[in-house]
């Protein structure tokens, strides 16, 4: 895809003016890093507050007679039980039990279900939802809204001046509130493992909101590079890499997204496979690895047992700035998946010692009670 075919978010000009290095991502020209570079950006978010443009992601309202009930037909979540003001992480599943996408679905108000899906998947996701739930819900895409993420231990203090109602929210709360003087859809959640918010505002206000936040000395702009290293340390899978449409939620260690009610009923797409894997265990499972010596093991690197026999593959990996060491996610048979298990990663033909560790690699610091 040539540069001219790429779409731009409402913040494109602001990124370029700030000296961002722009790269193609999910069909958009997006900032991969600003002048500070990935390492400093990453550490800033862990210590202060990082601001991300995630306007490439897909935002939509699912409206209908009973959108919550309908949404259960394409996900394994308990959406009937989703209370107003709450948000839930969920999975769009295909009939073979593979993951079409992972997403957030929320009830910021009484206007149906507000969903946010991955940018690279959004056109397909919304088509799938429209097709599967035809006659039950309409998918109203919110193309005229930008999405910003403010993440880090100082995010709440920064946001308080611009959205006083936001600081009363707890992790995974969602609310339609006034922020920066406009109607905003705000959730206390994110993709870094830190406390923080995702803020949907009208596209016309995006640059003003962005610049207002950056004027606060506690806030710095974050590119996709830091977004990736932060989510990796937080143990959060990246769709299309760590999870895809042949991977089940059980393999991906995302069984928490299958609610008890739905598990008891076994009434979600791909239930035959998923229920079998829940009962008998999957053939492979997503794990976290600390690479003990040598180079970072990146996506595609093979994982071997202590004798050197290949047992799996790294699905994402790199250097963890907060740990000062390489980490990775990948898939191995469950017998080798216990924390402490000794494995090797193969990087440029060399076997390097690695150890299975529990995820997250860096503890989550969500604010669950306010």
């Amino acid at each position: 895809m040539s540069e001219t075919d790429l779409k731009r978010t409402p913040l494109y000009d602001a990124h370029v003016a700030a000296g961002a290095r722009m790269v193609p991502f999910a069909g958009y020209s997006m900032p991969v890093q600003y002048k500070d570079g990935v390492l400093k950006e990453h550490l800033w978010t862990r210590e202060h507050a990082g601001l991300f443009d995630v306007s490439h992601m897909g935002q939509a309202r699912l409206r209908g007679v009973s959108p919550l009930l309908a949404f259960e037909e394409v996900t394994p979540g308990d959406f009937i039980g989703l209370k107003p003001g709450r948000q839930r992480y969920s999975l769009l599943l295909n009939k073979k039990g593979g993951v079409i996408d992972d997403l957030m679905a929320a009830r910021p108000d009484d206007d149906g279900l507000f969903v946010v899906v991955n940018g690279a998947c959004k056109d397909n996701d919304f088509k799938v939802i429209e097709n599967e739930l035809a006659g039950q819900v309409s998918v109203d895409r919110l193309e005229d809204r930008a999405l910003l993420a403010l993440q880090g231990p100082e995010a709440a203090a920064v946001l308080e001046a611009h959205a006083p109602d936001a600081v009363k929210m707890a992790f995974m709360d969602s609310a339609a509130i006034t922020a920066f003087g406009v109607d905003a859809l705000v959730s206390r959640s994110g993709y870094t493992g830190e406390d923080g918010y995702e803020i949907s505002v009208p596209a016309a206000d995006a640059e003003r909101v962005w610049n207002t936040l950056l004027a606060d000395e506690r806030v710095r702009a974050m590119g996709l590079g830091a977004r990736d290293s932060l989510r990796l340390e937080a143990g959060l899978p990246l769709y299309g890499h760590d999870v895809d449409d042949i991977t089940s939620p059980v393999e991906a260690a995302l069984t928490f997204a299958i609610s008890k009610k739905r598990r008891d009923a076994g009434d979600f797409p791909g239930a035959a496979r998923i229920m079998k894997e829940l009962a008998e265990g999957p053939t492979r499972v997503r794990i976290g690895l600390r690479v003990l010596v040598g180079a970072p093991a990146r996506e595609g690197a093979e994982i071997a047992d202590e004798n050197g026999a290949v047992v799996g593959k790294v699905t994402s990996g790199g250097f963890a700035p907060s740990l000062g060491a390489p980490i990775a996610m990948g898939y191995v048979p469950p017998a080798m998946a216990a924390p402490g298990a000794k494995l090797n990663v193969i990087v440029r033909g060399k076997q390097q010692a690695a150890e299975v560790v529990a995820m997250p690699f860096v503890p989550h610091r969500y604010v669950r009670k306010v």
Binding site: V32, Q33, G37, V38, L39, K40, H42, G225, D228, S229, A295, P296, R298, G318, F319, P321, P326, R348
Partner: protein, 121 residues
């Protein structure tokens, strides 16, 4: 010092060529977090991978600008890969090659020509 279009530099003393990457390349890479230097005794042809530098995001090959045999590698980079960013054209060197044909070095760009080349990028 001579330069390549892949942003490596070569400093020749007698028949020993010291090789690193330019300040421009180090800036483009971002923070270097891991460096893999070659083993002493390795014989490389021009264009062969000589070292690997890794930033938070990605791994990049460093190519041998000229043929030769590795006589020394910069072992200090394994503990302090950030040297490549701090002083890319001095302490951030990767390896020293014993070369057979100094004319290969002469054929590379001088600093003026390299800076001209950078201005076209």
């Amino acid at each position: 010092m001579r330069f390549t279009k892949d942003h490596e530099w070569v400093a020749l003393e007698g028949d020993i060529a010291t090789i690193g990457i330019t300040a421009y390349a180090a800036e483009q890479l971002g923070d270097v977090v891991f460096v893999e230097v070659p083993e002493v005794g390795k014989v490389v042809a021009a264009g062969d991978s000589l070292a690997v530098v890794e930033s938070v995001k990605a791994a990049s090959d460093v190519y041998a600008p000229i043929a030769g045999e590795v006589v020394e590698a910069n072992a200090a980079l394994s503990d302090e890969p950030e040297t490549v960013n701090a002083v890319p054209e001095q302490g951030g060197w990767f390896a020293r090659l014993k070369i057979a044909d100094p004319a290969q070095v002469e054929a590379l760009m001088d600093r003026h020509a390299y800076e001209q080349y950078l201005s076209t990028l």
